[in-house]
């Protein structure tokens, strides 16, 4: 019964026609990995899978056969032969699994050495990844680039294909995990510890990554994207990014504008104070001090734009930083303000009372 059911599921899962957008319905064999390390893991997985299926079919087959063959039939009297054991058999079925797992262990160590290989002197691109609740920052120290972002794509990490890229991971608050399924690899991002790995991406493309270690409220939305491109495209991308102007915090506020001061204390604690009052229909400023020692925050107003969409302050205030935002004048009424990085941090904004 188990065999039938599992076999059926395997069929459903593995051989179903291609799903939407030309991508295959997932099965036991995912599309080929995009990195050299991932391909090594895939081929190891293939052999382990074969062994597992063989063991599975042997044991389940035996079980089914035994249940069928030795089920109690009517009008059978007396006891079956009372066998207590067989030393040779015990030795055999100790030795066979031992041999199989020894084989698997050797294959594991072999692949592991390849996957874990670290270049003692990294020569290619180096990317410093900082994980924090619930976003990523990708720093390119040599190129002087830095990206932070949220949403279903998250920040974009560009890497050249066919080259060894060094990725260094560190967290500022809790443990996260850097995981790109198409690379078949994840490594934890731990506060107070730098974890690093080398990767050679073989196939150009866009790969989704996600935090894999449960890290609190919005763990489910901690995405990022890896763009793998040819060396030439990568160089062009770097130049283009370097030419973008640095956002200047604050701008030049009118000197007489009303200023409200607010402090973002922490992801759990929220804003202090959580209620703000400003006059209606006049320019005003928000002076945000981020006293959170781990996470960056910003200031956004639900329905704060004239067209009714949310107004979002830019840039983020990093831990310990102070940023002045200039939101548009607001009509009288009550608004909700929040942190666009941590939508659970909310407060009330009273306008014109």
């Amino acid at each position: 019964m188990a065999v039938l059911l599992v076999g059926l599921l395997t069929l459903i899962a593995g051989c179903a026609p291609a799903g939407a957008e030309g991508q295959a319905f997932p099965g036991f064999f995912a599309p080929p990995a995009a990195s050299a390390e991932g391909q090594a893991i895939d081929s190891l997985y293939f052999y382990v899978f074969l062994i597992a299926v063989a063991v599975f079919l042997t044991v389940e087959g035996l079980l089914l056969w035994i249940v069928f063959r030795y089920r109690r039939r009517p009008r059978v009297d007396g006891l079956p032969p009372q066998t207590h054991g067989h030393n040779l058999l015990e030795i055999v079925w100790t030795a066979i699994p031992a041999a199989i797992v020894t084989m698997l262990f050797v294959a594991t160590i072999d692949t592991l050495a390849f996957v874990e290989e670290l270049d003692p002197k990294p020569q290619g691109v180096i990317i410093d990844v900082v994980g924090f609740q619930w976003q990523w920052t990708f720093n390119y120290p040599e190129e002087g680039l830095s990206f932070t972002g949220a949403g279903a794509e998250g920040p974009v990490m560009a890497v050249p294909v066919g080259e060894r890229v060094r990725i260094r991971l560190e967290a500022t608050d809790v443990i996260h995990s850097f995981y790109v399924p198409m690379f078949r690899y994840k490594l934890d991002v731990v506060p107070g510890r730098v974890n690093e790995f080398d990767i050679v991406v073989e196939e150009p493309g866009t790969y989704t990554g996600q935090c894999a270690e449960f890290c609190g409220l919005l763990h489910a939305e901690m995405y990022f994207t890896v763009e793998a491109m040819s060396r030439a495209d990568y160089d062009a991308w770097v130049t283009e990014q370097q030419q973008q102007p640095e956002p200047t915090p604050g701008g030049s506020p009118p000197p007489d504008a009303a200023t409200v001061e607010v402090t973002s204390v922490g992801v759990v604690e929220g804003y202090e104070p959580s209620e703000l009052s400003v006059p209606a229909d006049t320019p005003w400023l928000v002076d945000l001090t981020n006293s959170d020692q781990f996470a960056p925050h910003d200031f956004a107003i639900r329905g704060g734009n004239p067209d009714g969409s949310d107004w979002q302050g830019d840039p983020n205030a990093d831990p310990g930083q102070q940023v002045i935002y200039e939101p548009p004048p607001l009509a009288a009424g009550q608004y909700e303000f929040y942190c666009s990085l941590h939508p659970n941090m909310v407060g009330t904004l009273r306008v014109g009372e």
Binding site: G85, L104, L112, K186, V268
Partner: protein, 614 residues
């Protein structure tokens, strides 16, 4: 049968109030065992509803009806409740009921500590759920990884308190089981004749005894970090977040065996009875169980391959090694059935279901020992699938096998076979439909502990399938509960030994009297009752009155009252021979007779004292 004469069942408590008082104050291992199982089943239902809420939320992509925070609390409590408040107390309860019977004792070694262990369970359960009243239940996952658990809400303090309490309960229970098994076995019941369920309880108890205190130390550290500015897990203060994982998994991996070894024991009890053959390779089972227990302490860091902070080959190697004793068990189980006369009653079906499905969980585990592959599927739904194939297909199938098997012993009534088979089919199919698709989701990179997932090709269908399966598992509990309900309304006609079983618990009445045995058959193998029924041994010349027989002499001599401060010491009764001629048939009667003054046995003659002969 001569050795199982019915004792007149005393019913000293008549009013409801008196019976409630009797249950609330009991130190009888059977009543305590039943209370353990009843509370565990209640928590199973709560944890099950949580699971269904989680699966309903995940049925399709997008956020349906839960919020992030609610969801995080749900899966934290689902894991905690199922492991610490369902499976562990359920096994403790079953062992509480069965182990003293199987070793031919009148009670556990320390009956009052036994009651204390039980009453910690409801208190801990209330404490865990009281988080909802204080601003949010625990929300850092059942593994409570620091530093996240250091920073989250008050519910974590209550979670810590609850688990320390449950841990203490488990430690006391483990001490009780070890002392019972080592000190209170019937004459002739040597270690290598103990039923496998007793062996597995023994190994489980040893695991608990050495693993749980380490977790308690970890909880102490977590509590200090949370409330007194400690720096155990805070790198800014010189601490190390990975330390929590080492401590947690040093407990956590033996914990997996704590949850599953009793199921191995149950299956090893049921297969021989329903195959009408002895267990194939009894010694191999004992050694395999012991080595699984020992290896359990050397593999904790295989839960931490992706931290970048452990020496991978070592832990990979020992993890692979565990496959060897597990394999031995599987083949011996098959060999036990081979050539037998298999009666496919409900307990047997659950035992066979266990073998069929636990195999998948075990093979998943072997995959996870392949470190590079673990990098890929760690923290994905592959691991969710693995743990549920181990704990639902393993522990839950084992638990229901045990319940159907021992139900007639506990209540004197046979559960309905037809409803039992309906439940088996629903549970078997439901488990596979719920958890098998999760392998593929994991391989495709769906991570766990998320309220929402991307609508990637196939993910919606597979998740929906998994949700259907989860609801099938949920529905499979209805026939069981209905079965229990209608069975309790029937007369108690099951008889002492309805399954034609092998071990001592079936040599007494169903349910057994307070003091368990009127008389014990001689024990010359691991199947004393079989030997007796099929003529391999003669019953004792006269029924050995258990209360006066050799076995129960020790029960009373080792009465724990002494240790607990009951003033028995210094109050010896000088008139010893007189005291012995009026035997007291009570499991609590303290025997103040000094050992030296008891009648000496001559030349190891197993015969009872002279007044026992007739």
């Amino acid at each position: 049968m001569a050795t199982t004469t019915l004792a007149p069942r005393a019913r000293p408590y008549t009013s409801t109030r008196a019976r409630a008082y009797e249950w609330l104050t009991t130190t009888d291992h059977k009543k305590i065992g039943v209370m353990y199982m009843a509370s565990a089943f209640l928590f199973f239902l709560i944890g099950g509803v949580y699971a269904l809420l989680i699966r309903a939320e995940l049925a399709v992509p997008g956020i349906q009806f839960l919020e992030f925070e609610t969801y995080n609390q749900l899966f934290t409590l689902h894991g905690t409740v199922m492991i610490f408040l369902f499976v562990m107390p359920m096994w403790t309860g079953l062992a509480n009921y069965i182990v003293p019977l199987q070793v031919g004792a009148a009670d556990m070694a320390f009956p009052r500590i036994n009651a204390l262990s039980y009453w910690m369970i409801p208190v801990a359960g209330l404490m865990l759920f009281s988080g909802y009243a204080f601003g949010g239940a625990a929300n850092a996952g059942w593994t409570g990884y620091a530093p996240l658990s250091v920073r989250e809400n008050i519910g974590i303090d209550l979670w810590v308190g609850s688990l320390v309490l449950l841990g203490t309960s488990s430690i006391l229970g483990a001490i009780n089981f070890i002392a019972t098994i080592f000190k209170m076995r019937a004459p002739g019941l040597t270690l290598m004749r103990m039923p496998l369920f007793v062996w597995n309880t023994l190994v489980t108890s040893v695991l608990l005894l050495f693993a749980v205190p380490v977790l308690t130390a970890g909880f102490v550290m977590l509590f200090i970090d949370r409330n007194y500015g400690g720096g155990f897990f805070d790198p800014a203060l010189g601490g190390n977040p990975i330390l929590w994982q080492h401590i947690f998994w040093f407990f956590g991996h033996p914990e997996v065996y704590i949850l599953i070894l009793p199921a191995f024991g149950v299956v090893s009890e049921i297969l021989p009875v329903f195959s009408r053959k002895p267990l194939f390779g009894y010694k191999a089972f004992v050694f395999a169980t012991a080595s699984i227990g020992a290896l359990g302490f050397s593999v904790w860091a295989h839960h931490m391959f992706a931290t970048g902070a452990v020496y991978l080959p070592f832990f990979s190697f020992f993890t692979f090694l565990i496959a060897v004793p597990t394999g031995i068990k599987f083949f011996n189980w098959l060999a036990t059935m081979w050539g037998g006369q298999l009666r496919l009653s409900t307990p047997m079906l659950f035992a066979i279901g266990f073998i069929a499905l636990f195999l998948i969980g075990g093979l998943d585990g072997a995959f996870l020992a392949v470190v590079p592959f673990d990098f890929h599927v760690h923290d994905t739904y592959w691991v969710v699938s693995h743990i549920h194939y181990v704990l639902v297909a393993g522990a839950v199938f084992g638990i229901f096998a045990a319940l159907y098997y021992w139900w007639p012993k506990i209540t004197g009534r046979m559960l309905d076979e037809r409803l039992g088979k309906v439940q088996w089919v629903l549970l078997f199919v439901g488990t596979n439909v719920a958890f098998f698709p999760q392998h593929i989701l994991g391989l495709d990179g769906m991570i766990r502990r998320i309220i929402d997932y991307a609508p990637n090709p196939g993910w919606t269908e597979l998740n929906f399938l998994s949700t259907i399966g989860a609801f099938m598992v949920g529905i499979s509990m209805l026939p069981f509960m209905w079965n229990v309900f209608i069975t309790q309304r029937k007369p108690a006609t099951a008889g002492d030994d309805p399954w034609d079983a092998n071990t001592l618990e079936w040599a007494t009445t169903s349910p057994p009297p307070t003091y368990n045995f009127e008389a014990l058959p001689p024990v010359r193998s691991e199947r004393p009752l079989f030997d007796l029924k099929y003529g391999a041994v003669e019953p004792h010349a006269a029924a050995v009155p258990a209360a006066r027989g050799e076995s129960h002499e020790e029960t009373r001599a080792d009465a724990p009252e002494e240790f607990l401060g009951e003033p028995v010491e210094g109050h010896e009764d000088p008139d010893v021979p007189g005291a012995r001629t009026t035997p007291q048939v009570s499991e609590h009667a303290p025997d103040a007779t000094p050992r030296e003054e008891r009648p000496k046995r001559e030349g190891g003659d197993p015969a009872p004292p002279t007044e026992g002969r007739s």
